[in-house]
Amino acid sequence: MHWIALPLPWCDEPAAPPGAAVQAAAAGWWALRFTPRVALVDGDAVLLEVSTTERLWGGRDALRAQVLQAWADASGGPPAHTATREVRVQPPGTQTAWGCGPTALVAQAWLRMAQAGRVPPGQGVEPGVDGLPLHTLTALRPHVASLERMGCRTWGALRALPRAGVARRFGGQVLRVLDQALGDAPEAHAWLELPEQFVLTAELPALAESADALLWSASRCLAALQGWLQARQQGAVALELAWRHDLRRIDGVAIAPTQALPVRTAQATQDMAHLRRLLSENLARTALAAPVNQITLRLLESAPLPHRSASLLPPGDLVGGGRDDPASAPGEALHQLLERLSARLGSSQVVAPVLQADHRPEHMQQWRPATEVLNHDRAHPGTPAADTHAPDATLWPTWLLRPPRRLAVQGNRPCHHGLLRLLAGPHRFEAGWWSAAGEGAGDPGHSCAGLALRDYFVAHNDVAGLVWVFRERWVPPAGGAMQEGAMQSAFTAAQPHRWFLHGVYG
């Protein structure tokens, strides 16, 4: 048995009763990835029993270094980036008070000594425990004064006293605790367990007036979430940050008691930095309806994180393989970029084309949010979408105007930055009769909205360059198909052709 004792990474002021238990437990979640046996004792220390897992982590010293590193990450928290970096650079253990020992009580006692500054931490623990003062055992604290009056100040002195007399005077509890501390009697612990669902509520230290102010507390919840995810070997896919308004109504207008902000990511991740950036981008665009006094972070969806194959070669990191990246290349992945751009600019502003099989140029491609399209392609790389290669696609322009721009006509010739010369065409084109009038698929201002009757030309002038224009063809009025030629020519003569600019050869 080997125990490591550490102080709680953060000590909140006594929180509200409903969330207090969860909140306290969350302080120990980060340790569950090292060993399943984690206990919180006396509300001020985390105890890890590591004898069964230390071989997995590369020995006792390596494990202790990683535990201290994880503790620093959990306590320093994300906002204090520089502080965490400092810890990482210095050999861990020089700042953190910690204790270890063969039993939980010994480890806790050394932790208390270290916290009191009595033992220079990090110098190892000398094997003798007889010299430890009595107040390091929580159960003995009520009796410390009377024992001191007897001249009994240390564990060794207490052990030397006759057991029967001690039991008669101080009760059997004292002897039992001493036996447990010395390893002569079994200890019983309430092991820390993870809840099935991650829901963490935190009271804000002060009323938050702006959405940015929520981020500080949210990042602490994220740190707890990271511990939860690591212990469960899961990655977060969707989160929800909810907040509770302090006021019920403002200026007589009732406001909802809570408000929530969901955040999704494409690939399951344990990387809190990405989630925090997403949250902050979304929060920056959110206006709070009222001051906020409480936030709740809820994990909506998670997925098992695939195990990465470990490299045979050691990574370049000092601390060990604990914080390696799946793709060790620097920079962020594409889905992270797209999610961040969409979060700030709006998902309708970050788009990718999806090609459609259609003859109408404006229907050949459809713009969809890039987070959906590109990630979907990555997930199913074997299904190329609509791979119909039109034979004359190289004759089409690289820019498309949506909607087509109406061109002025001068002497029966279209004008765009001056008169246009038609170089090639017409490419006669008749499609879209099937689509409903409501879709607005046809030419603008057409009587039959679905139908597109056009003649496409490649036109040119020196200013506008090569452009793709079309001329709208005359549509026979519905029902009046049997018209005479004279009538037709009269109709067209009365209504000149309309020309539109639809593409630019850029």
């Binding site: 502003q349 713009w367 696609a393 190289t394 506008a464 630019v504």
Partner: protein
């Protein structure tokens, strides 16, 4: 039209231990890797033989939307075929037409378009895209960018070794720019009744090497479109030769069916055989 200067020589006699130093009359060949542009004429004039990878190339143009893809697409198609990664287009002047781009080598599923609201957001988006490891190339239209902002982009591009094109109006030419390569592109005026397809003229304003006085004439459209245009022009001239003789016979052709093939306003009526001509065009395609 004008042959490139033959006096260019690569600095061989310089000590190789001094990167970034080259003869004033030679092209600077540094450690910078390059992506061939797809135009031999242009490659010969660019240091390293192509667009610089991991640096900014600035393209100045008289009007947005002209010649960008024509200039960039051959290089982009090669890069896309060789490496994985997305092509991010920031603040384009209009909508890129996916089918045409795919036909010229840029698949639609590699394309991502960002349409920011303002110039500041465009700069931000371009910089973020450059910091992403899965982005192959960035094309950004930044008409109002300041030199300091461009410098940020230049540094970001150097970090991840990506292709970066920034398109700006010609009036930005007098401003200082941190770009490694600055080009100015404009359309070539088409002579009155030429058979030639329209071209574009590229002037190199800044490069690692001596200044280039003459512009380079490059084709202004896809070779197949140029073929079609040439075929049509030849046919039109042949038609004009015949129409003089047959104009009288066909003066009664209904107005609805004529005009389209001929340039309107020239006033010459059309031959009756124009429908056959149209199928001939289709076969040429």
């Amino acid at each position: 039209m004008i042959a490139p200067r033959s006096t260019l020589r690569v600095a061989l006699d310089l000590p190789s231990a001094m990167p970034g130093v080259w003869h004033a009359d030679a092209l600077g060949a540094g450690p910078q890797s390059a992506q061939p542009t797809g135009y031999a004429l242009l490659d010969a004039q660019l240091p390293g033989g192509g667009w610089p990878v991991g640096a900014m190339s600035e393209v100045l143009q008289p009007m947005v939307g002209l010649h960008e893809w024509q200039l960039v697409l051959p290089a982009l198609a090669q890069a896309v075929a060789r490496r994985v990664g997305a092509v991010v287009v920031v603040a384009p002047p209009c909508e890129p037409f996916g089918p045409a781009l795919r036909a010229q080598g840029l698949p639609a599923q590699r394309l991502c378009v960002v349409r920011p609201d303002n110039a500041k957001a465009a700069l931000w988006a371009a910089e973020q895209a450059l910091r992403c490891r899965d982005v192959l190339a960035v094309m950004a239209w930044l008409p109002q960018a300041l030199p300091a902002a461009l410098r940020r982009l230049q540094l970001a591009a150097a970090q991840q070794q990506q292709l970066l094109w920034v398109f700006r109006p010609v009036r930005a030419a007098p401003q200082a720019s941190p770009a490694l390569l600055r080009l100015q592109v404009q359309g070539l005026a088409l002579p009155g009744d030429a058979v030639l397809s329209p071209g574009m003229q590229v002037q190199i304003l800044k490069r690692r090497g001596p200044p280039l006085v003459q512009g380079l004439d490059l084709p202004g459209c896809h070779p197949r479109l140029a073929q079609v245009l040439a075929a049509q022009a030849a046919r039109r001239r042949a038609a004009q030769g015949v129409t003089g003789a047959t104009a009288v016979r066909h003066s009664a052709v209904p107005a609805l069916t004529m005009r389209p093939v001929l340039a309107p306003g020239r006033g010459a009526p059309e031959r009756r055989g124009h429908a056959l001509d149209r199928t001939a065009v289709a076969m040429v395609r």
